[in-house]
């Protein structure tokens, strides 16, 4: 079976722009005065990362802040592009990087569901089909025709999460989103993830929560300073993780 995600020797460089100027004036002055000149510094966020995620696998991506987890996630979500190396993704990806992203406060819940789902490339017919299930799962039946600005943060998160899990992706990219809603809803979300797993979908799960990774993932991958430190069995990687944050 072909793997869902193949990351092959990926390097990602950011240019840090000290004294950054997007103004033409400062660019012009910079030609004459050192003081106005922008200083550029290269920073390697990922240094030769390779990772393969098989179809139906759930892999936990761990690592301290600034280790390159998010960069890797964005690269797989294809909003960033690698400086070097190659990434192959087979199947439709649903990034759950920020819940409620793209919601517009003045639009109603229903309008936001349609707008949001179409951001992920769904057609009208496809959204019509999943709409009732999205509303049911979010438990917002009574509020769906109200503008979303009147929702509480928790309600918005529920709607966002509900959309994401009903996109029926082949690959789910999750960035610490289980931390939304109350305990009961979190439980429901985790349950839904498990169901995803039973359906043979691929999950890449970024988390600091050792418990959540243990519960959900088959394998784990530990990143530090843009490099893969350990990959494989969850227990073994978690041990390495504890070691890495202790230092």
């Amino acid at each position: 079976m072909a793997s869902s995600i193949e990351v092959r020797d990926v390097w990602k460089q950011y240019i840090i722009r000290h004294n950054r100027s997007d103004a033409l004036k400062t660019k012009f002055l910079g030609l004459f005065h050192e003081r106005y000149r922008e200083r550029r510094e290269a920073f390697w966020a990922l240094k030769g990362v390779s990772l393969t995620v098989e179809q139906g696998e759930a892999v936990g991506l761990m690592g301290p802040n600034g280790s390159g987890k998010s960069t890797l996630l964005y690269l797989i979500a294809r909003t960033l592009y690698p400086t070097r190396g190659e990434i192959v993704v087979r199947g439709r990806v649903a990034p759950m990087i920020e819940i409620g992203l793209g919601f517009h406060p003045e639009l109603t819940g229903e309008e936001n569901v349609y707008l949001n789902a179409s951001l992920y490339g769904l057609t009208r017919e496809e959204i019509d089909e999943i709409y009732p299930r999205i509303v049911e799962f979010s438990e917002l039946e009574g509020f769906i025709d109200a503008p979303i600005k009147n929702y509480s943060t928790g309600m918005q998160a529920r709607l966002g999460f509900s959309i994401a899990v009903h996109l029926d992706p082949d690959i789910l990219l999750i960035d610490e989103v289980l931390a939304v809603g109350d305990e009961r809803f979190q439980e429901k979300c985790l349950e839904r993830m498990m169901e995803f797993r039973r359906q043979g979908k691929t999950i890449l799960f970024v988390s600091h929560s050792v418990e959540a990774v243990k519960k959900l993932c088959d394998r784990a991958c530990l990143l530090a300073h843009g490099e893969v430190i350990a990959v494989g069995d969850v227990a073994r990687v978690l041990e390495a993780y504890r070691g890495s944050i202790a230092v």
Binding site: L24, G91, H104, E106, S118
Partner: protein
């Protein structure tokens, strides 16, 4: 269940395009007709003020000046508002561009479409005025949708170009604003091209908007089919603008997420 499948094309994202345009319309008009009336205030005031200034004060030698003015100024308002709005089409959606993969072209495209729809609304509302002012509505009117299509294509090209460039150079917004102000006066909207001294007329003819505005005037004001030369220029500018706009956009969109 929803169909799977990897890469989705621009066509498959048509629902997104539609929803973005609808969002803009809903936000602007809020479902009320009052919002719509406000949006007509801008063209109305321009028409009244320019009519007074040019017809009664400067006494421009153009028969039926108000008709002439309306013919050119409505498409101009479409062009200038669409172009101005396109400068922030990507910038103001930074968070989306950073976190979700979708064809970025949709953003400037939806901006232009939203303004096109407002233009069409305005056309419908001003249509009785055109009749009242004695527009010679003959067979040539059939050319109007064609002129509009080419003008739209030209505007899309400029919007692609500016939406991409402003991500890297935000000053382009201000340059665009000033540029549009100047462009208005070198485009034959409140005067006829034949009034421009012959020596420099070729310069005015190099202005892409001259081709489109002249074509609109041919159809509505003069009641004639635009000349082959006008069509040629309109087609040429639309093609060049689309080619340049999409080339720049394709070249730079992979770095959008990093710059925003």
């Amino acid at each position: 269940m929803v169909a799977g499948g990897g890469e989705r094309t621009l066509w498959q994202y048509r629902e997104l395009l539609k929803n973005l345009v609808l969002k803009d319309l809903k936000l602007k008009y809020g479902g009320s007709w009052l919002g719509f009336v406000w949006s007509l205030l801008n063209p109305l005031i321009l028409i009244v003020v320019y009519s007074i200034a040019f017809k009664y004060i400067l006494r421009i030698q153009l028969e039926n000046f108000t008709l002439f003015l309306i013919t050119g100024i409505l498409p101009w308002i479409f062009f200038s508002t669409a172009v101005m709005a396109s400068t922030t089409a990507i910038l103001s959606n930074g968070n989306l561009v950073k976190k979700i993969h979708f064809p970025r072209e949709i953003l400037p495209l939806s901006t232009v479409l939203f303004n096109l729809i407002q233009f069409l609304f305005a056309l419908i509302v001003f249509f009785p005025a055109l009749i009242f002012l004695g527009a010679p509505l003959r067979g040539a009117v059939a050319a109007y949708p064609l002129v509009l299509l080419l003008h739209f294509a030209f505007t899309v090209g400029i919007a692609l170009l500016l939406s991409a460039v402003t991500v890297f150079y935000q000053d382009v917004r201000h340059l665009t604003e000033v540029g549009l102000l100047a462009l208005f006066w070198v485009t034959p909207i409140i005067y006829h091209l034949s009034m421009v001294p012959e020596r420099v007329r070729w310069l005015f003819q190099l202005n892409p908007l001259t081709a489109y505005i002249s074509a609109y005037q041919d159809v509505i004001y003069w009641g004639r089919w635009p000349a082959g030369e006008t069509w040629g220029l309109a087609l040429l500018w639309a093609g060049l603008s689309l080619a340049l706009g999409s080339w720049v956009f394709r070249r730079y969109h992979p770095s959008f997420a990093e710059e925003l």
